[in-house]
Amino acid sequence: MMVKALINRVRFMGNGVLNISAGVGRAAWFFIHVLSWGSGFKAPFKRLLQQVYQLGVLSLPIVLVAGLFVGMVLALQGYHILVGYGSQEAVGQMVALSILREFGPVVTALLFAGRAGSALTAEIGLMKATEQLSAMEIMGVDPFKRIMAPRLWGGVITLPILTVMFSVLGIYGGAFVAVEVLGIYDGSYWANMQNSVEFNEDVIKGVVKSLVFAVVVTWLAIFHGWNATPTSQGISRATTATVVQASLAVLALDFILTAVMLGGF
């Protein structure tokens, strides 16, 4: 009796491991398949354009407003800490470095996961539930080529652009608060920043980060849509899974990327 229960446990565990590896394998196969535009690299340019519009242009308002406010609040907080050391002129450096290295890539990716990722999952999930994907296959149209690939590549193109815009808005928002509201000398705000920010070190590494986040967030979003149980509950669960997993993946990857980039390992 005891032995049987033990064997059952082991079997249960093995089953779980197999399920997880099957999921990872499916996701990886899916990723490679989508990245190479289904079969062959012939890119339907029109569809890509459509997705850049859907994912990028329509995400602009939320990203720009968020960038502005993050920069403004950073300047405000940084000023009140730095003024205790009499070095409030360093607020420009603090705002620029924290936005370029961390806030820009991470906050934009989180917003993107909520604004665009969830929409992608719901859209593709509904397509699956209403059997549009199967219909395409029957007609001989590759859904990977027509539906998935433009979305993934659209996300990969869009997120770095959004991140750079977020950073610019944030830094100018910080400049507004520091110079106009808190009365820091305009020249020292920018000079301090320019002395400490390095283009290759800070700007480019931030863009590289956002590129990685773009791949992960969009991949998770379309995979969850494609993999969703074709019921209304299944789609709702898939959408939730996208936002939760994409956000966690962004935060965890951010730590790993930062550690690698700073050379701690």
């Binding site: 029109k46 354009l49 459509q50 850049v52 519009y53 990028g56 242009v57 602009l60 620029a96 370029l100 770095p160 652009i161 959004l162 750079v164 815009m165 950073s167 610019v168 830094i171 920018w190 920043m193 320019q194 002395n195 920010v197 390095e198 283009f199 800070d202 700007v203 863009v207």
Partner: protein, 150 residues
């Protein structure tokens, strides 16, 4: 949304992204190619740099006139060789002296120059002979303790 408007908005989006990257490059990181064509290079040898780093500023009477380009070690004399880019508009005499200074009590290291009275001017790839190394606090304390114990 017609196809034409969509294309225009996507094009504007990508253009704005590139523009933002240019702003980050020029305005935020202060990346400029001015240093390459509008400056001349001088060398100086120091016994101890004590924390001077590349891109550190070079100032004359408190005005920044250049930056440190590279730092190498001379393996014959075992001294540090600092390559400096100086603004073309600033002529320096041959008896200019260079010393490593600290901004504030705990601030960053920079090179301070002071001009002499000579008539001849330094030209590209010349060396500043008169240099003074950074004061290392630990050495100073060590000397003080040593002189007290005698």
């Amino acid at each position: 949304m017609t196809s034409k408007n969509l294309e225009i908005s996507v094009g504007a989006f990508v253009l704005a992204g590139i523009l933002a990257l240019v702003v980050l490059a020029l305005n935020v990181s202060g990346l400029s190619y001015r240093a390459d064509d509008q400056s001349y290079y001088l060398f100086a040898r120091f016994e101890n740099l004590a924390g001077l780093s590349e891109r550190a500023k070079i100032s004359l009477s408190g005005v920044t006139i250049g930056r440190v380009v590279s730092i190498t070690l001379d393996t014959e004399d075992y001294v540090a060789v600092v390559k400096m880019a100086i603004d073309k508009d600033v002529p320096l005499t041959t008896d200019t002296s260079a010393s490593i200074l600290t901004a504030g009590l705990l601030g960053e290291k920079y090179i301070g120059l002071s001009v002499g009275a000579d008539d001849e001017l330094l030209i590209n790839a010349d060396e500043i002979e008169d240099t003074q190394s950074s004061i290392v606090l630990e050495e100073l304390i060590g000397q003080f303790l040593f002189s007290r114990s005698e």
